[in-house]
C-alpha cells in the first residue's frame, strides 16, 4: 500500500485505539489541465512570494499569522496550533455511535477515507465489520490544521470512510422561505406520482459523469487533430555554470580519457 496520507494519528472507540492515516475520497475529474504560460507554453508552478523579495519563500521560512489590525499579525507556530486542542489533533475519538439515517444530508461536508497503519489492520477491520453489521456510524471530533471538525466515521465497501459534518450553527434556518400551507391538491399530487412512477430507475451516477467527460474528450481530440500540440522549450540555463570544482575534475578526467586512447 503506497497511498500517502495527509494526516496520521489514531482513531479510538472506548479502550480500542487504531493507528490510521487519512486519504482523499474525492479526486478531481479524470480530465485534468495544466496551467501554462501562454508565451512559451511552459508549465507553471505555484510558489509563495514575499512582496519585499524577488525569490520564492521556502516552506520553512513561512509562518501562519492572524491579522488583528491591518498589517499586524499574531504569529502561530504549528506546535502552538496543535496544542490548542492537544487531545484532538492526533486522535479521532469516537464519542458515540449513531444511525446514519438520522443525519440530515444538510450536515454532509467532505468525505475522506481512513486506512490502517501498520499493526492496526485487525482492529480497523473489526470496527468496519461491526459498524456494518449494526448499521451504525461513529461520531467524533478531531482537529486538522487550523480547524476542528465534527465527523462521522462510516463503513464503506470494507473501508472506513470519514465524512466531515457541518456544525448545526452553520446550517441556516429555512422557516422564512418555507411554503405557506396550501390547499390540498390531491389531483395534482396523483398526476405527479404517476409521472414519477414512470421515471424510477436504479441509482447510477456513472452515466452522468461519462457524458461530461465525453464532450470534453471530443473537443480535445478535434483540437489535437487540427493543430499540432505545443511543446515547452527545454529549461536551459546558461553554459559553464557547473560548480568550478566539478568542472575542473571533469576537465582533468577528460584529459586522461583522451591520453589513454
Amino acid at each position: 500500500m503506497a497511498v500517502q496520507g495527509m494526516w496520521s494519528g489514531t482513531i479510538s472507540f472506548s479502550l480500542v485505539a487504531i493507528p490510521v492515516r487519512l486519504v482523499k475520497a474525492i479526486e478531481p475529474g479524470r480530465i485534468s489541465f495544466r496551467l501554462l504560460h501562454n508565451k512559451d507554453y511552459s508549465p507553471l508552478t505555484r510558489k509563495m512570494f514575499c512582496p519585499k523579495g524577488e525569490t520564492a519563500v521556502p516552506p520553512d521560512e513561512m509562518i501562519r499569522g492572524y491579522e488583528i489590525m491591518p498589517d499586524q499579525y499574531v504569529l502561530m507556530t504549528d506546535e502552538e496550533l496543535e496544542s490548542v486542542s492537544p487531545e484532538r489533533s492526533r486522535t479521532i475519538e469516537i464519542v458515540e455511535f449513531i444511525d446514519m439515517k438520522e443525519v440530515d444530508p444538510i450536515y454532509y461536508d467532505h468525505p475522506y477515507y481512513l486506512v490502517p497503519s501498520k499493526g492496526g489492520e485487525k482492529a480497523y477491520q473489526l470496527l468496519v465489520e461491526v459498524m456494518h453489521r449494526t448499521n451504525k456510524a461513529g461520531l467524533a471530533k478531531f482537529v486538522l490544521a487550523e480547524r476542528e471538525y465534527l465527523v462521522a466515521v462510516t463503513p464503506r465497501d470494507g473501508a472506513l470512510a470519514l465524512v466531515t459534518l457541518h456544525y448545526s450553527d452553520e446550517t441556516l434556518p429555512d422557516e422564512d422561505i418555507s411554503p405557506k400551507k396550501g390547499k390540498d391538491a390531491a389531483e395534482e399530487e396523483n398526476r405527479i406520482k404517476k409521472n414519477i412512477e414512470q421515471m424510477i430507475e436504479d441509482f447510477n451516477p456513472g452515466k452522468y459523469a461519462d457524458e461530461r467527460r465525453k464532450k470534453l474528450m471530443d473537443l480535445l481530440k478535434t483540437k489535437a487533430k487540427e493543430k499540432a500540440p505545443v511543446e515547452a522549450p527545454a529549461v536551459e540555463e546558461g553554459e559553464g555554470e557547473g560548480p568550478a570544482d566539478l568542472v575542473a575534475a571533469l576537465e582533468e578526467s577528460m584529459r586522461k580519457v583522451k591520453e589513454s586512447r
Binding site: 472507540f13 472506548s14 479502550l15 480500542v16 482523499k24 489541465f33 501562454n38 507553471l44 508552478t45 505555484r46 510558489k47 509563495m48 512570494f49 512582496p51 519585499k52 521560512e61 513561512m62 499569522g65 492572524y66 488583528i68 499579525y73 499574531v74 502561530m76 507556530t77 502552538e80 489533533s89 455511535f97 449513531i98 438520522e102 440530515d104 499493526g119 482492529a123 477491520q125 461491526v130 449494526t134 451504525k136 487550523e146 476542528e148 465534527l150 456544525y167 448545526s168 452553520e170 441556516l172 422561505i177 396550501g182 395534482e188 405527479i192 409521472n195 414519477i196 412512477e197 421515471m199 441509482f203 451516477p205 467527460r213 464532450k215 473537443l219 483540437k223 500540440p229 505545443v230 511543446e231
Partner: protein, 259 residues
C-alpha cells in the same frame, strides 16, 4: 434566515413544472490565517511561476493545457471549455427518480434550499411534489446550470421544503476497493463483543450537542498572544495502538466500562 436567492428557475420532468428560487443552506465561519514570511512578518502572495523563465506569470498570460504526450499540450481556451458545458437554462431537469436509500452518501456535496416562486400560481405544484417525493421515498436525479457551470444533484423533500443536494460526479469518487486493504480474520467472539459495545455506545444524532470548541480556544490563544502573554505549548495526545492480540481483551474491558 436562509441565504439570499442565488438563482431562479423551475423544476421540470414530464408534464410537471414547479417554479423555485435557490438559496444557500449552509454558511461556514472560520478563523482565517495568512501565510507570512518568518523574517519580516510580511504577508506572502501566491504566484504562478513559469518553469522556463522562472518569472511570475500574470493571470492574463496563463492558459490551460491538456497533456497529450510528455511535455506536449493541447491548449484549450475558456470559450472552448464553455462549449462543452451545457447551455445555461432556467431549468432543473429531473432525469429519473431513485429510492433515497440507494443514494450512496459519499456522493453528497453541498445542499441548497428551494423556495416556491410565485406561490399564488405555483404553490400547489410545490406542495404536491413535496408530498409525492416523501410518500414514495424517492429523490429526483437532476442537472442544472448556473453561471455556465453544470451541476448534478438530487431533488429531495424534507419537512415542507424541497431541497437540492448537489452530487459529486462518479469519476471523482475514489472507490474504497482501490485502497488495497487486506483481509484479516476476526473471531466471532470479537465481532459479537464489538457489536454489543457499539449498541451500548449508541445515541440519537443530536448535532446541536457539538460546538466548535476549538474555534473558541483558538480565539483565546490568539488574544493571549496579542497581549504579549506566553503560551504554553503542549504535545498532542497520542494513543498507544491496541495490539492485535490484545484486541479481544480491550473490547471486553470496554464493554465492562460502558455497562
Amino acid at each position: 434566515m436562509a441565504g439570499a436567492t442565488i438563482w431562479k428557475g423551475y423544476i421540470h420532468f414530464k408534464d410537471t413544472d414547479v417554479a423555485v428560487k435557490l438559496h444557500n443552506a449552509v454558511r461556514e465561519e472560520r478563523i482565517q490565517f495568512h501565510l507570512l514570511h518568518k523574517r519580516d512578518k510580511v504577508r506572502l502572495r501566491q504566484q504562478m511561476i513559469c518553469t522556463y523563465e522562472k518569472q511570475p506569470v500574470p493571470a492574463e498570460e496563463q492558459c490551460k493545457g491538456f497533456e497529450v504526450e510528455e511535455g506536449k499540450y493541447v491548449i484549450v481556451d475558456p470559450e472552448e471549455l464553455e462549449q462543452t458545458a451545457p447551455e445555461s437554462t432556467r431549468m432543473i431537469e429531473v432525469h429519473e427518480f431513485v429510492k433515497t436509500e440507494q443514494i450512496d452518501p459519499i456522493f453528497l456535496d453541498r445542499l441548497y434550499y428551494l423556495e416556491p416562486d410565485n406561490p399564488e400560481i405555483h404553490g400547489k405544484g410545490y406542495n404536491a411534489l413535496v408530498r409525492a417525493l416523501k410518500e414514495m421515498g424517492v429523490e429526483g436525479i437532476c442537472t442544472w446550470t448556473i453561471r455556465k457551470r453544470s451541476y448534478l444533484g438530487a431533488l429531495q423533500a424534507r419537512g415542507k421544503m424541497l431541497r437540492l443536494n448537489a452530487l459529486r460526479y462518479a469519476d471523482e469518487v475514489v472507490p474504497a476497493t482501490s485502497l488495497g486493504l487486506r483481509d484479516v480474520s476476526l473471531s466471532e467472539k470479537e465481532l459479537k463483543i464489538g457489536g454489543l459495545l457499539i449498541e451500548k455506545l449508541t445515541a440519537p444524532f443530536e448535532p446541536q450537542k457539538f460546538e466548535n470548541e476549538h474555534q473558541k480556544k483558538l480565539q483565546e490563544m490568539i488574544e493571549k498572544k496579542a497581549r504579549g502573554e506566553k503560551v504554553v505549548v503542549s504535545a498532542p495526545r497520542r494513543l498507544k495502538p491496541t495490539e492485535s492480540d490484545q484486541l479481544l481483551q480491550a473490547l471486553e474491558a470496554s464493554l465492562k466500562k460502558a455497562a
